[in-house]
């Protein structure tokens, strides 16, 4: 099957274009060896199937970040038959910089000149024919968000597969050209699929990856040493020459209005980045998201799902009684599966709503502003402003949150961001809070939820400060960030993203939670003869062993202990287990009244704080191990949040008791 790769700058609309090309036919995984997301999809054209690979969004194809290395390795070693280079028409100079690097790689390219509608609004006039001729690359104008130009693009990409790769017409100056020729001779054509021009240019740019690759060879090594001192100058010279090449072309084929008009983006930015208003606006936006999530996801939609599950339980149990099923089977299906997994499913609408709003926030471009306004606070704590983006992503799920720390270039910044991410309350923890809110704090639900999130942020920031003073000393790296123009979020892509995440959640409910529930159900019935879910069962005994640890925090019951223990497999399991051991059915009301009996408002708070802060789930621990490539940090991330959570819930319970709550 032929392969088409998508390459482009961040915010160039690459993902939207990918969705438009592949429709629902796509899947997401990781690139081998790294946790950079790999998106692939299929596309049918003229009865032929094509594989479309979405490469990470990058400004360049150097060795600056893992994203860049993944993208360029795929272009060279993955041998795509053609590369679609997505170029943002409103920001054409900067976007073409990436194109110059594709030219150097000697790959077949088609440019999708995207966001042409916005360019027109900005009165940017682009002569497509002329631009295409000068670059030597075919260009199709597209508006990916409105699916305009998609068919033409596909057609052109397929045609290009049978054409020759464009010739690189960048002039690097005499000195560099001579050096490129010299290096090419020394390489003797042994470039293992890489274009020798490209290798030579990369060597002159001081690209360590490539230099390490060719180091061992005779002659090459001597030459490397000889030119070492010059490479700093050459490196910048090459960048300049690429820009010269671009500017030359743009001058001839692109007309921009002289004075840029004040755009809506500028007006919005005036307010949201204002030194007094910036942070309050950000806090307000987050607060509104949680309130809306609560109202829509819980009150409006949550009840519907709950009634479905209740009627399912009724139907299933009456059927099982009617066919005279054994008691154990009825108990397993009703208490175990419907009670446990069902308790988790009730919260799907809520999580869906949260993902929906976070998706909109991300799609509009506001996220970059959030990092901007938080930079001051973060810097005072010894952290990098971008840390905040990974923290917000962590609200959805800590796994992508931790992956988002990859945008931090400095190791110190990154390690801190990674270690504090689990304190960001993820979607899977919401069900726990909601059960306790329904039981004790019905009238202040939104406020309690918001406070928990705030507490998580606070603890994360305190720990961040502590880490930057102890484990990871040194300067934070500089803040460099593009503030993309605001865009109306594309509903199609927000919904699709939301669905991907909800599907993940459902898959976990069907696998991990199902397995945990089954295991615990078995443990609750053995040794044979015990009253199910009693303290004498194996489950009760395990819980009783752990329980004393939590006694000082006020929830030293075996049930609470078992649920926390199960929560390490996946946080949803906490509620699933509570549903099983307390209620024995999915009936939300039964679980809530059982919780009212077993907890007090004070122990409920202390328990919620514990679930917010304690050991992250197995998937998060595994991600930390993978990202840090270290067992030590994986163990660390499993233990230190537990200690923090324990200390805080003990403090809350003890002080609360003293005050008479």
């Amino acid at each position: 099957m032929r392969t088409i790769a998508l390459v482009g700058n961040p915010n160039s609309g690459k993902t939207t274009l990918f969705n438009a090309l592949t429709g629902s036919n796509q899947h997401v995984g990781n690139w081998p060896g790294v946790t950079v997301e790999k998106k692939e999809g299929k596309l049918r054209f003229n009865d032929q199937l094509y594989n479309v690979v979405d490469l990470p969004g990058t400004y360049s194809l150097g060795a600056y970040s893992e994203d860049e290395i993944v993208a360029r390795d795929f272009i060279i070693q993955g041998n795509p038959d053609v590369v679609i280079n997505v170029v943002d028409a409103t920001n054409i100079e900067r976007n073409l910089y990436l194109t110059t690097q594709l030219l150097e790689m000697g790959t077949k390219i088609v440019i999708a000149l995207n966001m042409m509608d916005e360019a027109k609004l900005k009165k940017i006039d682009i002569n497509l024919n002329d631009l295409s001729k000068q670059l030597g690359i075919p260009i199709i104008s597209t508006v990916a968000s409105k699916r305009k130009g998609i068919n033409e693009l596909i057609e052109k990409a397929v045609d290009t597969i049978n054409e020759d790769a464009p010739v690189n017409k960048i002039s690097y100056g005499e000195e560099i050209h001579k050096e490129i020729e010299e290096l090419k001779k020394l390489l003797e054509g042994r470039t293992e699929g890489y274009s020798s021009d490209w290798i030579a240019i990369k060597i002159l740019e001081g690209d360590e990856e490539v230099i390490n690759h060719v180091k061992g060879r005779n002659h090459v090594n001597e030459r490397l040493i000889a030119i070492k001192d010059k490479s700093v100058d050459w490196e910048l010279e090459i960048v300049n020459k690429r820009y010269d090449f671009i500017n030359n072309i743009i001058e001839k084929s692109v007309k921009k209005p002289d004075e840029t008009v004040v755009t809506l983006t500028d007006k919005i930015d005036k307010a949201v980045t204002n030194k007094y208003l910036g942070i309050p606006i950000f806090a307000l936006i987050m607060y509104m998201i949680f309130q809306l999530t609560f109202v829509i996801g819980q009150d409006l939609l949550g009840g519907i799902v709950e009634s479905w599950i209740e009627s399912l339980a009724v139907i299933v149990s009456s059927f099982l009684y009617a066919v005279n099923s054994p008691d154990w089977l009825i108990s397993f299906l009703i208490e175990g599966i419907i009670g446990g997994v069902g308790a988790v499913l009730v919260f799907v609408p809520l999580i869906m709503t949260l993902y929906f709003f976070l998706g909109i926030l991300e799609d509009t471009g506001y996220m970059a502003r959030a990092a901007y306004v938080m930079d001051g606070v973060m810097r005072a704590l010894g952290l990098h402003g971008k840390t905040f983006i990974s923290m917000i992503v962590g609200f959805g799920c800590n796994v992508p949150g931790i992956m988002a720390t990859r945008t931090l270039e400095n190791k110190k910044d990154r390690m801190i961001a990674l270690l504090i991410n689990p304190f960001m309350s993820c979607g899977a923890r919401i069900p726990i809070y909601l059960v306790f809110i329904a039981a004790f704090f019905e009238s202040n639900g939104g406020l309690v939820l918001f406070s928990l999130y705030l507490l998580g942020i606070l603890i994360a920031l305190i720990m961040g400060k502590l880490f930057s003073k102890t484990l990871f000393k040194g300067e934070s790296s500089h803040f460099i960030m593009e503030l993309p123009p605001y865009r109306l979020p594309s509903m199609r892509s927000v919904l699709r993203d939301m669905w991907d995440k909800v599907w993940d959640f459902l898959k976990r409910a069907g696998t991990v939670i199902f397995a945990v529930v089954t295991l615990l159900w078995i443990l609750s019935r053995f040794p044979l003869g015990v009253v199910p879910y009693s303290q004498e069962s194996i489950l009760g005994k395990i819980g009783s062993i752990i329980a004393p640890i939590f006694a000082p925090a006020g929830f030293g019951t075996w049930q609470a202990s078992v649920s926390l223990f199960a929560g390490i497999a996946a946080k949803e399991a906490v509620v699933a287990v509570l549903g099983m051991v307390y209620a024995g059915s999915s009936e939300g009301a039964a679980l809530i009244s059982a919780v009212q009996g077993a907890f007090t408002p004070l122990t409920a708070i202390s328990f919620m704080v514990m679930t917010l802060l304690y050991t992250p789930c197995a998937a998060t621990i595994a991600t930390v191990k993978q990202e840090t490539k270290s067992n030590k940090w994986a163990v660390f991330i499993a233990i230190y949040p537990f200690i923090i959570g324990w200390i805080l819930s003990v403090i809350i319970y003890q002080i609360g008791s003293l005050l008479g709550f």
Binding site: N91, Y97, D266, P485
Partner: protein, 73 residues
């Protein structure tokens, strides 16, 4: 005359990059983002927090420490 840097410019003022001394990696990243020698820009915000500038139509936020290492004419 002492060298002027990005930090010394006021909002709405325009300028041109003279040189950047942020270290090899940072320099290169800025170059690749279009902030290379001779690049024309306009300051949009410079009070507290990173400086925001407009550079051929796109907006870039730069930390103050780094902005101080970018000399302008």
């Amino acid at each position: 005359m002492t060298e002027r840097t990005l930090v010394d410019l006021q909002p709405c003022q325009e300028g041109k990059v003279n040189s950047i001394s942020g270290g090899r990696n940072v320099n290169k990243r800025l170059y690749e983002l279009g902030l290379n020698k001779g690049a024309k820009f306009k300051i949009l915000k410079n009070d507290v927090g990173p400086i925001i500038l407009s550079l051929s139509g796109n907006k870039l936020a730069l930390g103050r420490g780094l902005a101080n290492k970018i000399s302008v004419v």
